[in-house]
């Protein structure tokens, strides 16, 4: 018997992963969550049929979402995370001893429960006393908060469906307001390669440029995401992502990583020409 999971990356391109067994499936008001076991990628988490993360390559995404802002900010203590129900970002954040509080807003409590049960490699930190999980709408949580956080990490599952409101002007505006004067926000920016995803990259970038004085885009290689090439947005009120990186300070922390290094940090903001062009169009 052959059992394959397939995800359409465009109408004409799909990625298929061979599956050993289907472990979990749940449909709630927000979306349908599935977890399966695969020989090549280990455990795979999908939402509405789209890969959220796999055991094999999640470290790239989670390290790049977390360590880029955490290495630039001189003293990050209060962190707000949106989405991230699989726990990967929180796991990385807990590597910083000075972090006092991690507030996580995940509207879909089903993901959190499933991750704790079936994805322990990523969900390990979700029960840490520093972590508070708010099960509510992201916009509702953040719109009344003023000057509270050092770093905000927006780990939206995707730009379609429930994650759509995390791509809006009102959301970025609210995040700007919720950050302290030297706060940093990071979000995922889709892949710039396929036309439809590219439009979303541009939209996200446009909205963030309108909200933050400093806004840069960086990249990583993520095999199971469409085109295998992924962008992230770095936005800040004060710190430049490369000029204000204190590599020495970060390396002294002795945090173990498998993708992120301070050298990579400096390099990942250097983008291919076609990406520079498509971003410049909306700046």
């Amino acid at each position: 018997m052959e059992f394959w999971f397939s995800e359409l990356h465009t109408e004409n391109v799909k990625l298929s992963i061979k599956v050993n067994k289907h472990i979990f499936s749940e449909e709630n008001d927000h979306n349908r969550i599935d977890i399966f076991e695969s020989p090549e990628y280990g455990r795979v988490l999908t939402a509405d049929g789209y890969i959220v993360m796999t055991e094999r390559d999640e470290f790239i995404y989670h390290e790049m979402m977390t360590h880029i802002p955490m290495a630039v900010h001189p003293h990050p203590q209060k962190i707000l995370v949106f989405g991230a129900g699989d726990g990967g970002v929180v796991r990385e954040l807990l590597k910083y001893p000075d972090v006092e509080r991690i507030d996580m807003v995940e509207v879909n409590v089903g993901v959190v429960e499933a991750a704790k049960k079936y994805l322990p490699f990523s969900a390990s930190g979700l029960d840490d006393p520093k972590v508070t999980i708010y099960t509510q709408n992201a916009l509702r949580y953040v719109r009344h908060i003023v000057g509270e956080y050092d770093v905000i990490i927006v780990d939206s599952a995707g730009f379609y469906g429930p994650g759509e409101s995390l791509l809006s002007r009102e959301f970025y505006g609210s995040c700007y307001k919720a950050l302290k004067e030297d706060g940093i926000m990071v979000n995922q920016h889709q892949s710039p390669f396929y036309a439809e995803d590219r439009a979303e990259t541009q939209k996200a970038h446009k909205r963030i440029v309108e909200c933050f004085p400093i806004s840069r885009v960086y990249q990583a290689h993520i095999p199971t995401y469409p085109s295998g090439y992924w962008l992230f947005g770095y936005a800040s009120k004060k710190y430049h992502p490369v000029d204000d990186l204190n590599a020495k300070r970060w390396n002294k922390l002795g945090i173990e990583t498998n993708y992120y290094t301070t050298n990579l940090h400096k390099g990942c903001f250097a983008l291919p020409a076609y990406v520079e062009k498509l971003l410049a169009k909306v700046e």
């Binding site: 992201a138 509702r140 719109r143 409101s165 809006s168 002007r169 505006g173």
Partner: protein
């Protein structure tokens, strides 16, 4: 309820498709084969159902089978004696009401802020409008309902009027004392026609303002495509036992297409079924969303999302809680400015923006996550754009002087494009409407006075949005030729 789960037109269409009948009739696209681009745009299923009247599908001009059954089910669902499926928008339903109730030379009592479809119907049939001044809320800048004292006065002064037309609810959700108006009208042998375009949900939701049929009105039109969920341009006309259905059908057929779209008819049928079966829960959810949004918006500060607290027992006899209107002037922004910002910067399209307000249409298709977006966007707009408040334009109602019926004015010889300052004393042949508060300043057949000219110029300077005349800048007006002035 007998069998509201049944949708006869929908089921006849499904059966029809299953039979794979060979089409040697119109429409000429023949299930889309002759127009592949159209199929690509609308989808095969949709185009396949774009068919003509035929025996198994009945005929809207003279319903005897599935359309009749669908109308009977709709009548039952709405608590009416008869229901007529309409395919020319609620405009066609409003016009049918006016043409049924009145004829040339007869008087019909109307609130001044009627929809233009009503005046257009008067152009067609030659009846004369008697206007009732609607109350206006000067802070919010919106027209309210009809005061009972004003209705009484209009009836007293015009005992020969044949009907009273009521807008209920208004665009902003304001309801008049419909039951009392029906009582007064019936005591004086007048029919009550209700433009209930924004009130379909009154028939299905719990704890809603009274519906026209429940209040005993004689005719009402419900825009099923607004809160009812059917396709744009589909509508339902409701009548009570006081109005002969045969005559209404004749009136409808004066202007209705003989090629009614089955997409529209099926959408009415399915929507009626959905409302009858699930309307109560669905509208409870709509009210919840609107009330939640009101609470959250009022927490932001400066915005005022108004609700039932406006009720004053007369010109705001009741309030439609599904309506979400936000008063924005205290943020220092006009409603239309917030409306534009929401669209241009936040990708949120509102239903309308006027000087003081912007209105979000909340319906059975909404979800909480979009409500959260709207609330947050309003929050962000205030953070970014809050200014000192600018003066609100104060509206003063000017009693119109109706010199001739809209029909006479429409067909009279005209002089076109007269500079507005030179029109004092002339008779206007077109509409001039100002938002806010959406009340016509002039309608065809009315005398232009210096007061009206001054008002139009002042309202324009104040930034009111003016619509109606041929000249979009309203520097010129069309009037009736001098020699024909009475």
């Amino acid at each position: 309820m007998s069998n509201q789960a049944y949708a006869p037109i929908y089921e006849a269409l499904v059966e029809f498709r299953r039979n794979r009948v060979v089409p040697f009739d119109v429409p000429g696209h023949k299930r889309g084969r002759g127009n592949p681009e159209l199929v690509k745009l609308l989808g095969k299923q949709c185009v396949e159902l774009d068919v003509n009247s035929m025996k198994p599908l009945d005929n809207l001009c003279h319903p005897i089978s599935v359309i009749k059954e669908a109308e009977d089910l709709a009548a039952e669902a709405f608590g009416a004696a008869h229901a007529f499926l309409m395919v020319g928008g609620t405009t066609s339903a409003v016009q049918t009401m006016v043409l049924t109730a009145s004829k040339k030379g007869e008087k019909i009592i109307l609130p001044r802020n009627v929809h233009r479809s009503v005046i257009n119907a008067l152009v067609v049939n030659g009846a004369t409008p008697i206007y009732v001044n609607p109350d206006v809320d000067n802070r919010l800048g919106i027209a309210l309902g009809m005061k009972i004292s004003q209705v009484e006065k209009a009836i007293e002064e015009n005992p020969d009027a044949v009907a009273i037309l009521v807008n209920n609810p208004s665009y902003y959700g304001i309801c008049s004392n419909l039951k009392k108006i029906v009582e007064l009208a019936h005591e004086h042998n007048m029919l009550v026609l209700v433009d209930e375009a924004h009130g379909t949900h009154f028939y299905f939701g719990d704890d809603m303002p009274i519906s026209a049929m429940a209040a005993g009105a004689d005719m009402s039109c419900v825009s099923m495509h607004k809160s009812g969920g059917s396709l744009t341009q589909s509508s339902i006309l409701l009548t009570n036992s006081t109005v002969g259905p045969g005559y209404v059908r004749q009136v409808i057929n004066l202007t209705q297409t003989t090629s009614a779209s089955y997409l529209l008819l099926a959408s009415l049928d399915i929507s009626r079924r959905n409302l009858a079966l699930r309307g109560k829960e669905a509208f409870a959810e709509v009210v919840n969303m609107a009330e939640y949004a009101r609470t959250e918006i009022n927490k932001i500060g400066d915005y005022y999302a108004y609700g039932s607290e406006l009720i004053n027992g007369d010109s705001i006899y009741d309030f439609d809680k599904t309506k979400l209107t936000v008063f924005t002037l205290d943020v220092g922004l006009a409603g239309i400015e917030v409306y534009d910002l929401l669209r241009d910067e936040y990708d949120i399209q509102m239903e309308l923006g006027d000087i003081g307000n912007t209105l979000a249409y909340i319906s059975i298709g909404d979800r909480m996550r979009e409500i959260e977006r709207l609330v947050s966007a309003l929050y962000d707009i205030r953070r970014r754009f809050k200014k000192d408040r600018t003066g609100l334009f104060d509206h003063e109602y000017i009693n119109p002087s109706v010199v001739m019926s809209p029909q006479e004015a429409f067909y009279a010889p005209k002089e076109e494009m007269i500079p507005i300052r030179e029109t004092n004393g002339r008779i206007c042949t077109e509409f001039v409407m100002s938002y806010p508060p959406g009340i016509p300043i002039l309608a065809p057949g009315e005398r232009i006075t210096q007061e009206i000219i001054d008002y139009i110029i002042y309202a324009k300077e104040k930034g009111c949005s003016m619509t109606g005349p041929e000249d979009p800048k309203i520097e010129y007006l069309n009037v009736i030729k001098e020699a024909t002035i009475y």
